[in-house]
């Protein structure tokens, strides 16, 4: 398998602190309303406990990215060396087709620049030997950068409940599901 950089999301470790989203904002200073990384709480239908669980999501840098396929001006390309999907803003004409087409809502419209934009996986930082800002900032190491070509951890899932399933896109993201909360009964003490 070719190298494919991916996000590993350990839902069991994630505490929903939004530090990853803030780190992204600090790094790129997106204008208000333009969000590259979002922390989604799981609904009670999926995780029906007083404790809560979260998915921290950004662009999934899909193996077959629909944003890249639908873009009429070839403003997207996928890097050969690591599979990161890069959006070239200079080429973008702001048609919004990628925004409509991505089932994960990754590309966002920047009303000031009148162009789309999305998570770049901090490829400039990666090329400089650094971790992406979101991964670096995570206080619980719930968000990690992995290479799917060499990833060998048991029990990971690609499409957990609450995450849209699109095998034809093959999103480069893996999840470790949250465990059931520990119930401490009086007789256990």
């Amino acid at each position: 398998m070719r190298s494919q950089t991916a996000f590993y999301i350990d839902v069991q470790r994630c505490i929903g602190c939004f530090t990853c989203a803030m780190a992204c904002k600090n790094q790129y200073h997106q204008i208000p309303g333009v969000i590259w990384r979002q922390v989604y709480p799981l609904s009670p239908e999926i995780y029906p406990y007083r404790e809560r669980a979260f998915y921290s999501l950004a662009c999934n840098h899909c193996q077959r990215p629909t944003c890249l396929e639908v873009c009429p001006v070839k403003a997207y390309f996928k890097r050969d060396q690591d599979g990161i999907v890069v959006h070239e803003q200079e080429a973008c004409i702001g048609c919004g087709n990628c925004i409509r087409a991505c089932p994960y809502g990754a590309p966002r419209y920047n009303p000031e620049q009148r162009k789309a934009e999305k998570c770049s996986f901090c490829w400039q930082r990666i090329d400089a030997g650094l971790l992406p800002a979101c991964v670096l900032s995570c206080p619980t190491e719930a968000l990690q950068m992995v290479d799917l070509a060499s990833l060998d951890r048991p029990g990971l899932v690609q499409y957990p409940p609450g995450f849209p399933r699109f095998p034809e896109l093959n999103p480069s993201v893996r999840f470790r599901l949250p465990s059931l909360p520990t119930v401490v009964k009086r007789e256990d003490i």
């Binding site: 989604y40 709480p41 799981l42 609904s43 239908e45 999926i46 998915y55 999501l57 629909t66 890249l68 396929e69 639908v70 873009c71 009429p72 001006v73 070839k74 080429a91 973008c92 004409i93 702001g94 048609c95 919004g96 087709n97 409509r100 087409a101 991505c102 089932p103 994960y104 809502g105 419209y109 620049q113 009148r114 162009k115 409940p161 609450g162 995450f163 849209p164 399933r165 699109f166 034809e168 896109l169």
Partner: protein, 265 residues
């Protein structure tokens, strides 16, 4: 519906009207009791309407001056293909206008009709991405063909000499009935789909725009055509308004998968 999509409402309805006019003109030429028209007039109307539609489509671009680059990705982008074929359709209409006024050759009509039908299909594919499960299928193409089939005969009736020929009335009445059935059934079918599809069904059914579209754009015109056996001169205006309302519902009430992340699918 955000502001970016209003130009798409106008563009899709007008460009489909242009295709419908060409198809209705073809019907007029070859049907046994087709309408007698000066073929140059509906052809010119189709060209003008499509031109306005394409100009409107520029308004949804953040950078309209880059529109010419939109044909760069023909290999995989349905939008690139749509832009190319719709531009070819417009070129045929504009360049063929003098010829159509003088000689009205049949081959030109067939050529325009073929380009128009292909543009309808490509347009349908453009608006059926995986992110909208309710319309990630042939439905957009069906909706767009219905728009062309409703508005084509309706607009051509303006250019007919004398009373409206029965064939135009029959086609419009049949298509209106078919469209009414499809537009009433489709949201109900969505209710038995996945969560996003179900929510789309409820969004359509709960939208006043949807019911305005059903009543003003389909049921009332059908009743008028049925009762009068004619296409009154004001009816095409009501039909255009109905199609614009219907397209606004399509763009504003069809739900995106990303809106439900963290919930059941």
């Amino acid at each position: 519906m955000n502001g970016m999509e209003l130009p798409l409402v106008v563009f899709t309805v007008l460009s489909q009207t242009a295709v419908g006019i060409v198809l209705a003109s073809l019907l007029g030429r070859y049907a046994a009791a087709g309408p007698e028209t000066d073929p140059g007039r509906p052809w010119g109307a189709a060209a003008g309407i499509l031109l306005v539609g394409l100009l409107a489509s520029l308004a949804h671009l953040g950078h309209p001056t880059g529109a010419v680059n939109a044909v760069k990705h023909l290999a995989t982008s349905w939008l690139s293909r749509e832009v190319l074929v719709t531009s070819i359709f417009l070129a045929i209409l504009l360049l063929g206008l003098p010829l159509m006024r003088r000689k009205s050759p049949g081959w030109l009509l067939w050529l325009a009709a073929a380009a128009g039908i292909v543009s309808l299909v490509f347009m349908g594919m453009t608006y059926s991405p995986p992110s909208f499960p309710a319309v990630n299928n042939l439905l957009p193409t069906v909706f767009f063909v219905l728009t062309a089939a409703v508005l084509g005969p309706a607009v051509v009736s303006w250019f007919v000499r004398g009373s409206t020929p029965p064939v135009l009335v029959a086609v419009l009445g049949s298509v209106l009935l078919l469209a009414l059935v499809i537009y009433l059934i489709v949201p109900c079918i969505w209710l038995s789909g996945g969560t996003v599809m179900q929510n789309t069904g409820w969004a359509w059914i709960g939208s006043p725009l949807y019911w305005l579209r059903i009543v003003l754009g389909l049921a009332l015109p059908l009743a008028v055509v049925w009762k009068t056996r004619d296409i009154p001169v004001w009816l095409p205006l009501l039909l255009i308004a109905g199609e614009l309302l219907g397209r606004a519902v399509f763009f504003s009430q069809t739900l995106h998968t990303a809106g439900n992340i963290g919930g059941l699918y």
